[in-house]
Symmetry: D3
């Protein structure tokens, strides 16, 4: 493994430049514009007092997420899902992933009967949009929860956030495990994995896919280690942002 | 009419702070992030060599536009049109308006058999999203046309842009005609008008609506004059951006 | 400007033959089959006691409109929007325009908590379908309001209709402003405008679009004057119909 | 069975007043506005030279039909299928029935590679809309075929129409078989049947449904006889219209 | 008419091998996997205490049905209606037929305010899927009603089922009336009829269609007789299954 | 860990009874009805000579999959996606997973320009429907490829299948890792994982989700080991079925 392996000059276990612009939106109760290199995702958290009908009266809150891409976030333009009249499989899958990742660090009892909807809209895509989305969404979620507390929708003594959560992609390219794949790397990866990890270093979600050849346990372990380390760095960036 | 009339301290015939960040997108052939005060619209122009089937072989190009809002661009969250499975009337109406406005300054013969799709996505809304979109879209369009020329898709001697175009909202509030309404003003306006004006000061589109009481010719004239003057300022900002 | 300018022998400021067959429908609370020359629109007004949930308890009524075309109303057949599974932008835009035009002459407080839905279905199209629709819809609306009063859903002393409303298209063809464009004229017009005017001669809506070259203030003024005069004639036809 | 049985004074085996206004539409190649009493259906036939891709090159034509109701054709308003975004089961079912009925009297080889789309739009409904639609559609179809012959899209010696076709509803009310049910009768019928019969008196379609109690062979026979006789009268009205 | 007429060796008035596997589903309150030769339909009856909102408080129950085909139930694969985003006309038509057939033998007052939804999913198709579905659905319905009684949702003394119901297809092939058409016969039939008959031998539904030449009364009578006899055999198989 | 842990008497690392009924469908080129205990999935493989337009001329084949559930496959009835007019996120996600799993063992060059569509329809659900679907789909796929070879659509010397593939769910319940979760176990699992493994024991896909508490590397390893062992047993059952 050499420095020259990666197109943007990174070494294998190095994140791209990560920035989180907290409070980007003037309207949302929590928001963050997150960048992982050229990938930019606007995350907003909308707080509503009350829960959907099916959850009413159970003393629990609800956190959900929706992910989408602007039509020209990518290198060539994609038709809008609103115009096609249906949401595609990839969009559905990522929305569900983000929702699960965030719910894993929320104590819905402590949240009380409140709903938080996280919107992650990819303004520009360069690989790793779902992991950037999770990482930024956590910051938006944290601020929305603080807002709810300031408005007394959440009790002062309640701590709905039991941990932080971040995510990163890892993959094997030409036999080398690499962290935080940019788009040009992603399309070349033999194995592609997204790991979602809590601030304490536990797994929330592990999704590994053989894009080329199937992979063995040794490769899986190498990827997991890279991912856990990457998420630890992201956790520190989140913490600094929220400080 | 006094300075105290407007919530943000502007006088009646004053634009909000307008900024146009040219080339915001790394992928699009032309792009601009335009702000009219708190209204922020990302405009991208996607250039494709070739035209839709129904236009093939006529030696003419095609320019079209799509407008949309992020779900939390507004003060309270709106459901996504992709999830509702249909595009709303307002979205349709504004998309069509933007497309007509841009086509009014394009010589499609000079464009040749090329297609430009303009996407205007409202990241944050505070009134005047359609007029900001038109104003920013023109900048994205101009750059996409330059790109097409640089790639030789457009002949060097061709001049597809016959003029510039910008737009602004005007309205009557408490009897006073005002320029470039912010959202809090827009909801109070008795009459609301959007004017789309070319760089030379000619009308492309005039859409006036009595939200409260019907209006007379004198009021209409006052609004048109305000709008033409506002568009002249926007034209200068566009020109400076493209310089 | 000469008599010979217009395909059907009209002079520039002349309406086509306008007829309004009041009470066409046996079922609707108000109805009118309106013809502007070859354009025929069936307008029905459906009166329901009560309002949509979001308006309940505010002491106000609701008036809305839907516009559609039969598939073979036009010269070549268009696919049905029901089969395409979505309503097109043009349909949306016109439905919204008709609704706004009617609401401009309705005092919703005086209407009380009642809902009137106006359906304007184009049976045959020859230009000016939206303006014919508004003109006929007013007659259907007036009768539906009378019906509501006769059924005591509207108080005897209430006057929900504050004025009448009609609409007409105007346009510039070969440099000449003309009133009430037929289809063959509409496609040739450089500038196309629809004006919606109350019985008292005030503007409810002005929508002018440069289809060819942008237009100047002088042309705009000429078109507005033509339109206001045309609407005054339509107002008289409406009044005669309702007498 | 007495005269007093029927609300509108008819005797049991009597049709309502049937009128067919041939050539109602200025645009369609064939058209008819058919009335069965208060039921009014506008039938247009749109002729296109050529066939759908799946039929190309087989030397055969295609006839199809679409049925729909205006929202206020009925006593209370129904939401538009275009707005609901889907076509209902009843609409589908009737469209298919009309198409089958018409194809039964068309020799598609003689029609040549031409397509005729029949639109049947119910302007006002008072029972028997599908049977009125079939009866009027035949007239529109016949005229569209003549138009195709006049344009030389159909060979002069070809006879695409092998017979005429009409349809009528029959039902048993309070034990009495009755012809051509009006809406108030239809809702009271124990058994309801639609028969589609050729000019020569042969069956194209028989659809009988027990709305109340199941029926026996004797009742079925009585209904069929009524229906065949009713269709013979409709055939004569069609012939007179086309004469 | 000879034995050799039919591809599978049957004589003209012979059913295919019919089997009904009662209680196929571990979850549904009633279920049956019915086979008419190569046609296999899984019928499940889902019992819910309570009725849709529009029926609440009327003391009556509701029975409805939905029919669908797996994509590869047929010889070549059909796209899924879920992916096309709309239900086709044939599916709608058959769903409605099954629902009407079942409701004809249900006393909804005796059913009480309970809802039974019957799903008929064709796992493999070889002609006669709608008739097999009705025949199997009756068995599933009967068991669901028993389940409702066992759970005391239906009063012990109530008898919601007033009769049994079954259905079979009949058709004329090369001039010979035949019972229970397999797919290869169905496509060759000049006339095609589905009859739905109660256990007592009365008609619930008769749907005859001329696929080739129109048919006369004598042919109709022959088909009805075949159908009634076939349904009597199916009734006995249903009874044996439920014994 | 004791035998009494599992509701159905299994020990922790024991599969449910797995059966694969090869060639269930009379129509499909390959098919299998697979059962994992109470979970029953009908898998059909539809072979078409030729590829989608976007793949034409590249000398490569295409394998894709669609997953769906019958409405009453589950304990309470779910509305049909065809009637809702859209495919849900879960359905999309699983369809994509099955497609990826199968493509991982197919050499699309060796397949040639042929398309295989795998349909996995859940007839009855009791946990693990996606893993049963993958396991059964492989058998259907293998037979469809043989069919393609027998028809000479695939060259005799080509070997499109480079390995077999199967899948199983694993999860941690009350701290104990368990294999092949039934529904009652699935809802109680703290961590839930699906592993897709080739016949040679390599990973194609690993999807682990913390449903309750996040999990650590040790737990992940225990689950992976269980899953790999389970897949080895499934591989042997597949091989025996195809022998």
């Amino acid at each position: 493994m050499t420095d020259s392996l990666r197109a943007d000059g990174r070494i294998a276990d190095q994140l791209r430049t990560v920035t989180i612009e907290r409070g980007w939106s003037a309207h949302a109760e929590g928001s963050a514009l997150v960048s992982f290199g050229g990938t930019k995702v606007l995350c907003t958290a909308s707080f509503t007092n009350g829960v959907p009908r099916w959850l009413t009266g159970k003393g629990k809150g609800w956190v959900t997420a929706e992910y989408a891409m602007l039509p020209r976030a990518t290198n060539s333009r994609n038709d809008r899902e609103s115009i096609k009249g249906k949401v595609g499989g990839r969009t559905h899958e990522i929305s569900r992933l983000i929702g699960r990742a965030l719910r894993a660090v929320v104590d819905t009892k402590a949240l009380g009967e409140n709903t938080i909807v996280i919107d992650c809209d990819v303004l520009q895509a360069d690989g790793g949009t779902r992991t950037a989305a999770i990482t930024g969404a956590y910051v938006a979620l944290a601020d929305a929860i603080e807002w709810g507390r300031s408005q007394k929708f959440i009790a002062q003594r309640s701590a709905p956030l039991v941990d932080s959560v971040s995510a990163v992609s890892v993959g094997i390219i030409d036999g080398t495990p690499m962290l935080d794949l940019a788009y040009v790397e992603d399309v070349r990866a033999e194995t592609d994995m997204n790991v979602v990890v809590t601030g304490r270093g536990l797994f929330v979600e592990v999704q590994g896919t053989a894009e080329g050849a199937p992979f063995d346990k040794r490769e899986l372990d190498a990827l997991l280690e890279l991912g856990v380390n990457g998420c630890a760095q992201l956790r520190d960036i989140q913490a600094a942002t929220l400080a």
